[in-house]
Assembly symmetry: C2
Amino acid sequence: MSLQKEYMAKRQLIPKSEDMSKWYTQVIQMAQLADYSPVKGCMVIRPNGYGIWENIQEKMNPLLKELGVQNAYFPLFIPLSFLSKEAEHVEGFAPELAIVTHGGGEELKEKLVVRPTSETIMYDMYSKWIQSYRDLPLSLNQWNNVVRWEKRTYFFLRTTEFLWQETHTAHAKHQDAMDMVLNGLELYRTIAEDYLAIPVIKGRKSAAEKFAGAELTTTIEAIMPDGKALQAGTSHDLGQHFSKKEAFNIAFQNEKGEVDYVWQTSYGLSTRIIGGLIMTHGDNEGLVLPPNIAPVQVMIVPATNDRLQTTQFCEELEKTLKSQQVRAKVDTRNTLSMGWKLNDAELQGVPLTIVVGEREIEAHELTLKIRYSNEKRIVSQIGFEKIVTKILEDIQVGMLAAATKKRDALTFEVSSYDMFKEKMNTTKGFIKAFWCEDPVCEKFIKNETTASTRCLPFTNKQGDVAEEKGVCIYCQNPATHRWLFAQSY
Amino acid sequence: MSLQKEYMAKRQLIPKSEDMSKWYTQVIQMAQLADYSPVKGCMVIRPNGYGIWENIQEKMNPLLKELGVQNAYFPLFIPLSFLSKEAEHVEGFAPELAIVTHGGGEELKEKLVVRPTSETIMYDMYSKWIQSYRDLPLSLNQWNNVVRWEKRTYFFLRTTEFLWQETHTAHAKHQDAMDMVLNGLELYRTIAEDYLAIPVIKGRKSAAEKFAGAELTTTIEAIMPDGKALQAGTSHDLGQHFSKKEAFNIAFQNEKGEVDYVWQTSYGLSTRIIGGLIMTHGDNEGLVLPPNIAPVQVMIVPATNDRLQTTQFCEELEKTLKSQQVRAKVDTRNTLSMGWKLNDAELQGVPLTIVVGEREIEAHELTLKIRYSNEKRIVSQIGFEKIVTKILEDIQVGMLAAATKKRDALTFEVSSYDMFKEKMNTTKGFIKAFWCEDPVCEKFIKNETTASTRCLPFTNKQGDVAEEKGVCIYCQNPATHRWLFAQSY
């Protein structure tokens, strides 16, 4: 789309408050985060969207390293037979597989699956590499693309191909694995809350909602402004499901010299979280990005294109900000007006805009515009970079606080199934309710309200949960935990 | 493999000087750069190998940005029909395709190709995005995985799936495209020579050797110690082959208001260059990595594991070096002896090793061991970080110089076909010889000597070539250029 057309189109951006779903697909295209591709179910991630993903990678890599995780790369293709080695795993993924039947002009003897996740191909190698307790822990991560066939797709939230990271660790003891599960989950909380400013609730999944092949799945759950939940990252205790002899036989000699099987974990976070970012913070004018993750943190807009003095001044500002590790950029496109550029910066959710005209230069001032609060500030040019840095920090804090407030306003405790249903028919949102943990009740609730159990919230970093006395919202039998329910993406 | 077994295996590393090919596959596995996977033709890149690729990415991203290139992501799958839109392109890639015929449990209406390269899927989007000269240049890059079916595979150098970056740019004028082709090539020279310490020759490919769909292919060519050439990166002028109406119809309104078609370029560099890195620098003891690309630049080895003082001292050294942006690491594995650790560091090609024992601590000295020259130096602990930084710089320069010397010793000018054949039967190497540029002669030479034209070398950054008067080495007809011939990987 040419810039003119985009500008025209922006004028027609449907307000988020009117129809979030339409707004979502429109704003993604207009802000050039992504576009539809000619391949059904697959999208193109454009630089504005990919830049967010790159920032997530840049933030996450050092955190993974702190957990002793190293990056590696495993094959895209997996022999079909591998998936069957863990019974639940193949059952979970079989309906979503893309199958390669021909390669190099010949029909393949064994069909290959395009990885939907890499447990099986990685653990085949783990069984080769791990012999002794000295080889443990083995903790590898991949940044890659995976394919899970989808009939109905939605930008970022549900696409046939998506990008993610998947970490797979093997340990000598179950406790070490459990520590890693919780460390992985805490890492995701950090990414979601401290960088993306998306408040999340940590907890564990019900048996029905856990990962295919896991002993236990933990999750971070966010609530979107339309009251639907987004599972933003999951961390799994795989127990010895994949390591046992009949599966991948990842045996090792323990410190006592006995044969043992490793305890494993896996955790993953995908480009889907970018969908959560867009929905959580965007407004009627377009995207709103938190500074910690915005590809451009400060857009400097010259009031005119024809004055060399203004351009040079803007470039000086950019240089000063960059020297303070601020991702600043001058909008130098000289066929566009100032108004146009300001609209673009607004649509694309740039956290802070600086407008520079003759007046500002002469008065030794700068006009700052804060995207998320729509606030304007006039500041002195002297030491402006310190003020900008401080404002960016404040924006980050402010955005998480605002999102948390919205999340809390969409979180309800209910004591009767009627209230439950009423909430699901009106505001939706997170509903806290007692559940007896019988999968039958869970299924009925889901069939009748489309709300599923999102998690049993943790009360601390150790993964403890609150024990209470109550009765199941559905069957009235005794229940000891309040679960979090919601409709979900 | 357990550490013990690795150590045993290292003892059996075949000398590079004896059989480079065997040494190559052995050293890659022993140094844990990569391993065979259960999927035919695909390999696993382990952390030691992937770390090199991450460093290449880290060096290349800012260079791409300087050229105005932005990162993005396009789908893995390409509709089979897309490939046919450019005649040479489909002909070139058809024999190497992996085909997805089933997705989500159903047979697909249109078969999908796993991308062997992304021209077609990207240019379909380019035709949607580009309307006016104001939308140009459009310069996007992807770091991704591609699949080209291979019957015979070789670690890094030839695998069915490999990792690479592919940059695709569109311009209003042919001259702008040509500038980009040469800038891309210069970028590759920088990566190869300044970071990987692999000397390369820039030049253009013959018609027979150019990229399927290109108007012109430029290349960087390196020579391996066994006298075989490695094409280490290519940059293509695609002309209007893909943009013309019958192909992807990437039309735009030019400044005069007329309809025009964009001029395109693409360039790519893959994990194959890691193969070149291993062969160029490795020696009988294992890998030798240049500091600019080594995942670990300095390995600090405590002489004993049981002395807290030594460990703490080593960690202080690590901290000091890290504060100087040196990638330092203490080998803290406490079940292994010093000798073992030194052997590991040597095998893995760590540029510099520091050995720390009681003697060193007391004498306020450090023992440094330089991997590539096998040199030992005793230095004072005071200000050692400055010395280390300087030594790392010297190693980088020294390794390129040493590799250039070897390259020059393997470069020959010949004036007769007999000499040509003799060289190809003995030392092999780069052979400079006049060629009339008739594809028939090129084909006969290749059939008779297995040597192909590698490139017509450029004499400067502008891509000029030397015009000379001579006769074709094969047919004796007049020839105006000396081409570079070699057998190749």
